[in-house]
């Protein structure tokens, strides 16, 4: 089965960021393919590399980056949601005149068309949020 996963909530804010991760991990362990993970609304906060959770807590952002690297998953942050919340890659820094970037490894910034394409190309679209 080919899956697209949508995440609407940020890390350490709502359980859905954790649920989505555990679901994705279980799906990969069962041999399914994840076509894309699309982070929308506050979900884009899953993609900042500047987070520093306590050492005895889970590192939600790093966990996503490691999952993406291990399984070659396309992880997309919604551009309009990212601009509002200050999640920046090189292209956005250039375009909007920002003096820094903070996007975490394995993430990229793109538009809602990526979510629509995920829905079309996948067997299932599953949404996690509040």
């Amino acid at each position: 089965m080919k899956l697209t996963i949508q995440v609407n909530e940020g890390p350490y804010q709502h359980q859905s960021a954790d649920t989505a991760y555990h679901f994705a991990k279980a799906a990969l362990e069962k041999g399914h393919e994840i076509f894309r993970i699309f982070f929308y609304h506050d979900g884009v906060n899953n993609g900042t590399r500047l987070t520093t959770p306590p050492q005895d807590d889970r590192n939600i952002v790093r966990r996503w980056s490691e999952l993406a690297e291990a399984h070659n998953i396309d992880m997309v942050l919604c551009v309009a949601a990212a601009q509002r919340r200050g999640i920046v890659d090189d292209g956005e820094a250039e375009r909007n005149g920002k003096d820094a970037t903070n996007i975490a490894p394995g993430f990229r910034i793109s538009g809602l068309g990526q979510l629509v394409e995920g829905g079309i190309e996948s067997d299932r679209l599953i949404v996690f949020g509040d």
């Binding site: 649920t19 555990h22 996690f128 949020g129």
Partner: protein
Amino acid sequence: MAMLHLVNKSPYDTGNLNTASGIMKEGDRLLLIEDGVYGAMKNGKAASLLNGLKVSVLGPDLAARGISQDKLADGIDVIDYAGFVDLVEANDKTQSWL
């Protein structure tokens, strides 16, 4: 065209379980996750919402809230994340009642 309905909120907090259970069709399945697992409790006032439905509940979310399985309404299937994936595969569509 069976559908998997996901409810992640307590029925004592929002009306999502009420709405989802009212709209479910024969063959559909309900999966209670996150705070939605409170809806699975046998002695809760919301337990009657589950009558006649196929219901699963996510075990790790029960454990995180200290709910033991003997507190659950009859006929509820307790699953893990692998079982969650299987339900998504077994149903044609997934609807999250957010």
